[in-house]
Symmetry: C2
């Protein structure tokens, strides 16, 4: 049961799209208090109570013990001391003596979640202005709470099937020649590949919806040629529009008044990649419609997918902050600066980026009223994504496009996926990637993945290999790296064959992963779940945070430590371990519930299948469209008369539904671990 | 066997103090090559080869897979992407198909260790100028290599016994009243405490060897009063000497020419806490003697221990770098800065600190010759520590003083301990603390510990509690935190009683920890060892990096994950788990070799004792001097006729030795896990 409790004058966010009855009386489970203009909600915690949620954030799946903030921020240093990352997903789920309930805090401003941080037995959530809708969700299980929440925020975004293919990306691909080379290097070595994503380098001086006329002279021809190679190009679009007379997007945006304005009525200018830029007011439907139409230029050139970036929005500086810093520096000239003064000077320069004062300088128009940006900050990236999705809908209503965004808020999950922001080539970010999977799923973001190999800093061969072994299971599987870091394409490495083999498993699993993804999306379920959700009575499972459940049948447990040659795995029930070297080469080891140490060489990684069920494995391919989802091998253990409900569709129609697309794969299997060649089975019930 | 191979003109470092024969022919195991002026040493690595060493550095105990640099750096962000920390300890130990050998790279400049980072099957060590002595150590075991290396670098520093007591510290203790309050809060609550360490706030405007005449009016009376409470005060000394006419240390240093000079013959000025400061040339014996005498001022006031800080040396800025930055800012005024220009401007301001150009601006005098600082950078903190130790020796030759430093180089281990630098209140830093213990031990630094609870950022109750549970076992056990972070004294927390109980274990274990420390120091052994050192034939043990061996009898395995209620532990042999709540309250669980999951509530932590041996446990106390090391309980399992070689001494004499100080504790024990009240045993063989 879900009820809504409004406080003050909540700002409409469209996070929730299903009418929710207003609760009677005071908000249960929490003590509400005002402090100055802020409003706080306090939950008393028992010693062993757990808290889930918060989507894209640092630390554990159990969020207890830290203070988080909802403030979408462009800062790539994703260490455990960071209160906010690129996205804000304000769902909490409490479990324990405090009760079993979820609470969604719908306030697009700077909400603070002190979850047993200041006081270990209290969770205190504070809305800065007290204008907030709290949705209280009471169900009899953790899964049930998520399912109910997902029911009110609308169906998750459906990507095209090809988006589940491997994507190669890098900030720095500067010409069509370079892209053709990268594709060729993959194809000649039989490294599977479906897409190349293009960072800002393809644009003409970082202007959205342009492409460099020298290095990408004929984009349409390029997309056509790539199409013959079964490769899609996925260009980036940034939030800021370059300030440049004669640049149509700038001119038109200015003429129509589509950019965010300052209090003096002039457009706000902030510097991002193109230099001085304007920021479309994506919160206005007419601005979204206009911005969405800009994508047509690239769609007309054969593009079928995009990533939206810099949409927190990131601000490198504003003229105001930079000039203030410069003036402060001038005033220090020739002085014997004290340490405090010197630190202050440095801080002022550092804080020219993403400066809170800048976020207070400009306004949006919501329902005809001006609203200062900082009050709706976390809606910005969400509505940029929405603009794109609404544009695609206008362009071709019945087709799915790939779309993923850096910044988001609940609601954005209906329009696109996310990547987990600008990470680093750190081992701890493999684990962060894993832990964010179920948390993002709780908030509706099913299509997501991290920059495999790490975006910032130099990767190493072993790090990329281990990270790919996790990426095999994430819906978005993209290898992405930053300018000036080590080249990170698989074929650059001595162990590229091991990496290629990892990708063969991705493509072999593709029918299963797509099936589980689509079923989860269409039924408001999670593709990835904490073990706590499936085994709430198992104390060890509840506290296990380096393994997650995948779909209805599986559990994953990646190696995330450098130089490790295995790992500890906890099995909450009997499971079959599939230890993969490649799609063709794997061991099957039935294992009993309990603690195990599993040996895993650098080129080995495990998938665990629950006893009594089975999963399909295709014969793989080098691109998604070539995967034969009708010739399947079935993996399982002890599943006599087992059945797998296999979802499949054309991979592109927008009106996806379960009816008519679920096929029962049946097997009368021996009790030992097995891999049955499915060619015998696939034409069974429901198929063809 | 150890041989020395000299290349170019090695700079004398006094790291090695025992003559080592020069090797004949070329350096074995490595391929030597020159590149420009640099000299590189390449070791070819087999897939499973491991590399140990590097003392204080990030990442694993097995250092393979990253690029490290020897460049002592004041930067508190200790994430896994950091190439260099506060100290440089250039020992590597290789094990595998590449051979079994150690190599000490004695070059105090910017040596780079690319250990399978660029190329996963090569370790490449590069000396920037090719002036280096390489000591090649060949023994038949990992332990043997360390023992041999320790044999040539001289006996590790011996702290007084009281230094093993709990130390409370904070940047911000600003008056004697505050210190008296802190002591009182501990004593009234029976929280054990031996010392309070004083950060820069006690000084008069951050001037070394002064104290604030308002807030610490009578330091001698304070140390006397504290002495009655069995508390020692441990003040900080910084490397930089404030530039101030009339300040005797400054005046005398200038008059005698003791500060580092620039090429133009004028003293180099850099800004640190006191503002503009001079930097004593600690590499000169006469400067060390002079600086060492300055400590007498505090020794005369009853001080018996110090910590040396900021001795990388840290530089907040120099006038040169700051003015260059300001001029660059001026030149940007009113311009429409491009993004690159803006980033450059910010970078220039950021890089005013610890700027490489500044480290090239000043000189040391070594053997009468000027040598530019960057060539001997890593010797600076080492020789500041040496200056202090030589001062103590001059002050009272037969007494041990507490001394620990932030920056160090091999050689400094003879003069003092280290703390593991300015860390953060991060869970990952508990694990970093653990992993650095054996690595520091390899390089001679036995007396070390991290800032428990974390220095930067706010701690949380659970983090401090878990970190104390590791700190129980580290020789230096100090709770330290930064200004403007949350108060971190134990009594501030709701679970302070749990924390107090953790400390009771420290004091109960003190006789054992002191005994094992002293035996290790006096015999050139390690107090903490990687499991790989004790179980080299056990592949799982070799790759286990979140457990370490302690002394001859034990293994530790702390919980380092937030919200965990237990952990996986690998036992390479049968062991007795002692699960501590407090010194009086613990469970004994005999466990068989293999993998285990151990339940550990927030207030529980384990110690593992090998089968067939035993350790002594005292009845504890609230300060070290009150610990009765003659009334001992013995913990063990299956050790009929077992014996523990118990070292004890007066805790302060400098001429410590094994002879006459080792007592055989004997027991005829039952085979089950046992705790025998030692009052029956202690007067056995060798004691009294």
């Amino acid at each position: 049961m879900i009820r809504r409790y409004d406080f003050g004058t909540p700002i409409p966010t469209d996070a929730v799209v299903v009418p929710v009855p207003v609760g009677e009386g005071s908000l249960p489970h929490m003590v509400t208090a005002t402090r100055g203009g802020a409003l706080s909600f306090t939950v008393s915690l028992g010693e062993h109570d757990m808290i889930f949620g918060l989507g894209e954030s640092v630390r554990g799946i159990n969020k207890r013990g830290f203070r988080y903030r909802a403030w979408n921020t462009d800062d790539p240093s994703l260490h455990e001391g960071r209160e906010c990352l690129y996205a804000s997903h304000n769902l909490l789920i409490f479990s324990g003596t405090c009760g079993l309930f979820g609470a969604y805090f719908d306030d697009p401003g700077n909400v603070v979640f002190d979850l047993g941080y200041t006081d270990s037995d209290k969770a205190v959530i504070t809305s800065p202005e007290g204008n907030i809708s709290v949705y209280l969700i009471e169900e009899d299980s953790l899964k049930g709470i998520v399912h109910a929440f997902r029911g009110i925020i609308g169906q998750s975004y459906l990507p095209p099937k090809w988006a589940f293919g491997y994507i190669q990306s890098r900030w720095g691909y500067a010409s069509e020649e370079e892209i053709r080379t990268i594709v060729r290097e993959h194809r000649t070595r039989h490294i599977p590949l479906d897409s190349v994503s293009m960072d800002i380098d393809y644009m003409e001086r970082f202007k959205d919806f342009t492409w460099n006329q020298n290095n990408f002279a004929d984009l349409k021809k390029l997309t056509g040629d790539m199409g013959k190679e079964h490769i899609r190009l996925v260009p980036i679009i940034d939030a800021g529009v370059k300030q440049e007379q004669g640049y149509d997007v700038c001119d038109e945006g200015l003429a129509k008044g589509y950019f965010c304005l300052k209090a003096d009525g002039k457009p706000f200018v902030g510097a991002v990649w193109p230099g001085h830029s304007y920021f479309p007011d994506f919160l206005r439907p007419e601005v979204r419609a206009w911005f969405g139409r800009q994508y047509f230029k690239l769609l007309d050139a054969g593009i079928e997918g995009f990533w939206n970036d810099m949409n927190e929005p990131a601000l490198f500086y504003s003229e105001e902050t930079l000039q203030e810093a410069i003036e402060l520096a001038e005033s220090c000239k020739g002085k014997n600066l004290g340490v405090e003064e010197c630190f202050h000077l440095k801080d002022v320069f550092q804080q020219t980026a993403n400066n809170m004062e800048d976020y207070r300088r400009f306004y949006h128009v919501v329902d005809g009223k001006n609203i200062r940006h900082d009050r709706v900050h976390n809606l910005y990236g969400y509505n940029m994504t929405r603009a794109a999705a609404e544009g695609f809908q206008a362009y071709q209503a019945d087709k799915r496009y790939l779309l993923f965004s850096r910044s988001s808020y609940v609601g954005a999950h209906r329009y696109g996926g996310v990547w987990q922001g600008d990470n680093c080539s750190w081992w701890s970010h493999i684990l962060l990637n894993l832990k964010q999977l179920p948390s993002l799923n709780m908030c509706g973001f099913l299509f997501n993945g991290a920059d495999l190999g790490g975006f910032g800093q130099n990767t190493t061969e072993d790090l990329l290999l281990r990270w790919l072994q996790l990426g095999v299971f994430t819906p978005l599987m993209r290898n992405h790296s930053a300018q000036h870091t080590r080249d990170q394409e698989i074929y650059r490495f001595r162990r590229s064959e091991d990496m290629r083999r990892v990708l063969t498993v991705r493509y072999a699993l593709l029918p299963y992963l797509y099936s589980e993804f689509m079923k989860a999306a269409l039924t408001d379920e999670m593709l990835f779940r904490p073990l706590a959700f499936d085994y709430p009575a198992d104390d060890v499972a509840c506290r296990t945070e380096d393994q997650v459940m995948l779909g209805g049948e599986c559990m994953i447990a990646p190696v995330y430590e450098q130089n490790a040659r295995g790992r500890h795995v906890y099995l909450p029930e009997d499971m079959l371990m599939v230890r993969f070297h490649s799609a063709e080469d794997y061991d099957l080891l039935p294992m009993s519930a309990g603690h195990h140490w599993v040996a895993l060489e650098l080129n080995e990684f495990p998938l665990f299948i629950r006893r009594g069920v089975m999963i399909p494995l295709s014969r793989g391919a080098e691109w998604v469209d070539a995967v034969d989802s009708r010739t399947l091998t079935l993996l399982g253990w002890d599943c006599g008369h087992a059945e797998y409900a296999f979802y499949d569709d054309d991979g592109q129609s927008k009106d996806a539904k379960l009816e008519g697309h679920v096929y029962a794969l049946r097997v009368d299997a021996p009790t030992e671990g097995f891999a049955l060649d499915g060619s015998k089975l696939i034409h069974g019930e429901g198929r063809d």
